[in-house]
């Protein structure tokens, strides 16, 4: 049978605020257990929550960036369940009144563009972390230790419609979400530290069927690779069951990256009924148009907008516009570089190939080098003015990255400036012609490769400094 894959993603993005959602503890990551805690986030008796305003604005920013409607009357609800990493016995979340609804996002997989619906985005607090002793898995652990540093750290949960049709699309969607929250500066997108976590709701159905098949929810997808692999393996599992005439059990499954398999998380003790109700300790949150407009006006330019602008007013190709906008840091570097007078197209090429290539080899990030947009612009302008050739420029780039010296200084010190003096070049050209009589004959016999050899010899003798345009001009003149 021909199966259609149906995927919806729930992405938990940790807001990079200074303090937690409901208390004033430091919200940043630390490996020292229970050092970012207080009576409120450890659920001590009598303690009360107060909402961090910045989280509300961050959630609004994500919503506006994904074309959501912002809800005017918001409410926080309690989600009740017992677990040792959940200090109050309930999680403060939003239930039937999430802050953002009905948004969408465009993804592009191999040139095919699709619009993915966003059902809702809501604010909630994170739970703490459990370390299982005596085993790396919860089942065999002899006991567990609760570290509540993460308790009440702010999250935005971004829930997509079941619009994704392949693991590739799901991955592209997750990457797009990461790109947006990073552009907005509301989440660092660090998947290894858990700043961005993803659960996938997966089902399959016969092609053409309109009703949804029974879904499973696969958790613990901590990298884009994991998202892709877990979806593929789960889809395969479901199709196998259905093709053998079996039925899918609606359940939560855990993805194990080491074994590349998913496993049921059901346990006999579970009786699920979260008993959501409005948190009586918190008051409603009213968002008026003026507030929305203020946040909207302060939104940074988003990847999609940048891309269009680059294509329209900087005449970049779609490919170039795409690659340069992927990462927030790269695009910022690009914009600053062209602000110093470098040509956009050259700048894209240089950043994407030479700069990032060199940094990759060294295993460092753009932010960690001495290379500044100004230094790069100066280098590119030297090429543009024919002061040095592109080839020479490539040879001095590592030095700029290393030392932060400017290109002009390096060129001057090393005497690398291009020679454009006709007389000087003519001497070299004549000498090379005299020494290569055989080659000259080949050229005259119509062998084009021979001409290249000749140019190479001339450049070599000039230590790469001879202006190639003048070399060609003189060769043509002397050989005709």
């Amino acid at each position: 049978m021909n199966w259609e894959i149906v995927i919806g993603l729930e992405i938990h993005a940790q807001m990079s605020t200074k303090s937690k959602l409901m208390c004033n503890c430091d919200a940043s990551f630390t490996s020292e257990a229970n050092t970012h805690i207080c009576p409120i986030c450890t659920g001590q008796p009598g303690m009360l929550p107060v909402i961090n305003k910045q989280v509300v604005e961050s959630a609004m920013m994500i919503g506006l960036a994904t074309k959501c409607n912002i809800r005017k009357l918001n409410e926080f609800a309690r989600k009740n369940y017992f677990y040792p990493d959940l200090p109050k016995g309930y999680q403060i979340s939003q239930y039937d009144k999430p802050i953002c609804e009905n948004g969408s996002l465009e993804i592009d997989v191999n040139g095919v563009k699709r619009t993915i619906g966003i059902t809702r985005i809501h604010m909630e607090e994170d739970a703490g972390k459990l370390v299982h002793a005596g085993s790396d898995n919860i089942k065999d652990a002899s006991y567990s230790l609760a570290d509540l540093n993460r308790s009440s750290v702010p999250l935005c949960e971004i829930v997509s419609e079941p619009d994704l049709r392949s693991a590739e699309e799901a991955t592209a969607y997750a990457q797009k979400i990461r790109q947006i929250v990073r552009y907005l500066g509301v989440c660092d997108g660090n998947m290894e530290e858990g700043s961005l976590r993803c659960d996938a709701n997966i089902s399959v159905r016969p092609k053409g069927q309109t009703t949804l098949g029974t879904k499973t929810e696969v958790k613990n997808l901590n990298s884009f690779k994991a998202i892709e692999k877990a979806i593929n393996i789960e889809v395969e599992r479901q199709i196998d069951i259905l093709e053998e005439g079996g039925e899918i059990v609606q359940e939560t499954r855990h993805y194990n990256e080491a074994t590349n398999s998913t496993k049921s998380m059901r346990s006999k003790e579970d009786a699920h009924d979260y008993r959501y109700f409005p948190d009586p300790d918190l008051v409603p949150l009213l968002i008026d148009d003026a507030w929305i407009k203020k946040v909207q006006d302060a939104l940074p330019e988003l990847p999609e907008e940048k891309k269009n602008r680059y294509m329209n007013s900087l005449s970049l190709s779609e490919y170039d516009a795409n690659v340069i906008t992927v990462e927030k840091e790269t695009v910022a570097f690009f914009e600053e570089t062209i602000s110093f007078g470098a040509k956009p197209k050259d700048t894209v090429n240089w950043i994407m190939s030479e700069v990032l290539g060199t940094l990759n080899q060294k295993g460092i990030e753009l932010s960690q080098t001495k290379l500044t947009p100004k230094l790069l612009a100066e280098l590119l302008i030297l090429i543009d003015k024919n002061t040095i050739s592109g080839k020479i420029a490539k040879t001095i780039l590592p030095q700029i990255i290393e030392t932060g010296e400017n290109a002009e200084k390096i060129v001057a010190e090393k005497g690398l400036a291009q020679v454009s003096d006709q007389g000087e070049i003519k001497k070299i050209v004549e000498a090379v012609i005299n020494e290569n009589a055989k080659v000259i004959e080949d050229i005259k016999g119509g062998n084009p490769k021979a001409m290249g050899f000749l140019v190479g010899q001339i450049m070599k003798r000039s230590a790469g400094k001879a202006n190639p345009g003048i070399v060609n001009e003189l060769l043509n003149e002397l050989l005709s």
Binding site: P39, P45, G46, F82, E269, R275, P280
Partner: protein
């Protein structure tokens, strides 16, 4: 018996200013009274003699230097044991928290400490404030000083008894459905529940968050208003705290004509003796020019049903944090997490607490939410509207505080029967309005309270009219226990 004990808080304050009394002397007198009577009454679960006397010393130094004292500065106070006191056990009279020592102060405690009011000790209560008789305390029940075979009411029974038996001139209680006003009525004293949000709930161990409110116990209205002035005020740590309130409740506003509504719905189930006393009182007050009118607030009939859905719903969630993991009682034999949680909670909580957790869990569970929880919240809206309508016509609403005189230990063994006791007091919590109980007479030598409800944020007006009524009725608080 030491005459100091009979003084009101304001009188004590005055005698500090005139240097007739020292704070240490006063504090010592009450501490002595507590140690002489607590074995019999069991109104205190812990006594903090040392810190109380330390505070008194600070006040005495100020008195010696003739420094001006703030309102009620240096007046000793007793605290219901559900308000967190840093470094001092805060138990909610539960086995669950018998050894719990908070590392923080409730906002009210911070205010009391900043005002140098010696804290005499923590008072007994129904476990987690769930009850109307102080019989559900893990530390045993508290006795009513008027008759020790009688309950003092609850849940703030210990605090009410502390005033009634002259163990403290002032006390704090908390009121979720009548837990200040009903014991005040049973003990012949004044107990007041402010407008919701006038006093911060930060550090009050929650029973039902949308209903809980801390309030004062005292011998008379003036003391009550003064104590509310000390403990009230906006608190940024409590999102439900009322901003921009005038916290001077001691101002008396006089008005020519006082119009009081008598809700018809409360007359139906009155004990004949209570009814008689109530009608006599109304005729006395009428003669003094107060205008009474019977009125209808139909939703009041749903008070108990609404309350016993809303309060347990919130409680079931509020009490989920007592899971043995971070603090509180833990069963040490349990071999698995679920065992540990279930055994700790089953052994740490008493029957009434468990009952309310079950009720609350039921009304929030899927399939029952709309029929119970949501329905109750809708009726709550109707009730708020009924009150708004009534207060557009009347300054106050009046009724007895309880439908019956104080009852004996074990008399109300059926939970529903016990719940019925709160029929007059519950609506004020659901609507958030201020209300108080003050003594208005005796039945079988047991005191009875009259219940006044005011409009939202009109706490000051409530005190003003209550003071007038107090002057007219001139009820003598004195009870037989005073001479013991």
């Amino acid at each position: 018996m030491n005459d100091i004990l009979k003084l009101t808080a304001i009188e004590i304050s005055k005698k500090y200013q005139t240097k007739e009394l020292s704070c240490s002397e006063v504090t010592k007198a009450f501490l002595d009274r507590i140690s002489a009577t607590n074995t019999e009454l069991n109104s205190f679960v812990s006594i903090s003699e040392k810190t109380a006397l330390e505070t008194a010393k600070i006040v005495d130094e100020k008195i010696a230097k003739s420094q001006r004292l703030a309102l009620l500065e240096g007046v000793p106070i007793a605290i219901k044991d559900n308000m967190c006191t840093s470094g001092v056990a805060t138990t909610c009279s539960s086995k669950m928290l018998a050894n719990f020592v908070p590392s923080y102060d409730a906002t009210v405690i911070e205010k009391i400490r900043n005002n140098n009011m010696p804290i005499l000790g923590k008072t007994n209560m129904d476990e987690f404030a769930m009850g109307s008789s102080t019989e559900t305390s893990f530390f045993g029940s508290t006795k009513n000083p008027w008759n020790t075979n009688t309950v003092p009411g609850g849940s703030s029974g210990g605090s009410a008894v502390a005033i009634s038996a002259l163990q403290a001139p002032l006390a704090l209680g908390s009121d979720t459905g009548g837990s200040i006003r009903q014991p005040a009525s049973f003990c012949g004293i004044v107990g007041m529940k402010p407008t919701y949000g006038v006093v911060s709930r930060y550090g009050l161990i929650a029973f039902a968050s949308s209903l809980d409110q801390i309030g004062p116990f005292s011998k008379n209205i003036d003391d009550s208003a003064a104590l509310l002035s000390v403990i009230s005020g906006y608190d940024h740590k409590d999102s439900t705290s009322q901003p921009n309130i005038d916290t001077d409740f001691t101002k008396i506003s006089s008005q020519k004509e006082i119009k009081i509504g008598l809700p018809k719905e409360f007359f139906a189930n009155l004990d004949p003796k209570v009814k008689e006393l109530y009608q006599d009182t109304i005729s006395i007050l009428s003669k003094e020019g107060i205008i009474f009118e019977e009125t209808e607030l139909p939703s009041l009939e749903q008070g108990i049903s609404t309350y016993y859905i809303v309060a347990p719903a919130e409680a079931s969630s509020n009490l989920a944090r007592f899971d043995g993991v971070r603090y509180g009682y833990r069963n040490q034999e349990a071999k698995s997490l679920v065992d540990m949680m279930e055994l700790s909670r089953s052994e740490g909580f008493g029957a009434e607490v468990k009952r309310r957790i079950l009720i609350g869990t039921y009304v929030l569970s899927s399939g029952y939410y709309d029929a119970y929880y949501k329905k109750a919240q809708q009726v709550r809206t109707i009730m708020k509207n009924d009150f708004q309508k009534a207060f557009s016509k009347y300054d106050l609403l009046l009724s007895p505080t309880t439908p019956t005189p104080p009852f004996s230990f074990g008399e109300k063994s059926n939970p529903l029967e016990m719940y019925m006791n709160d029929i007059m007091t519950i609506p004020a919590n659901l609507a958030g309005i201020p209300a108080l109980s003050m003594p208005f007479g005796k039945s079988n030598n047991l005191p009875m309270g009259i219940h006044l409800m005011g409009n939202l944020l009109e706490d000051q007006k409530l005190f003003s009219i209550a003071k007038k009524i107090e002057q007219i009725l001139g009820f003598n608080i004195q009870n037989p226990y005073w001479e013991k």
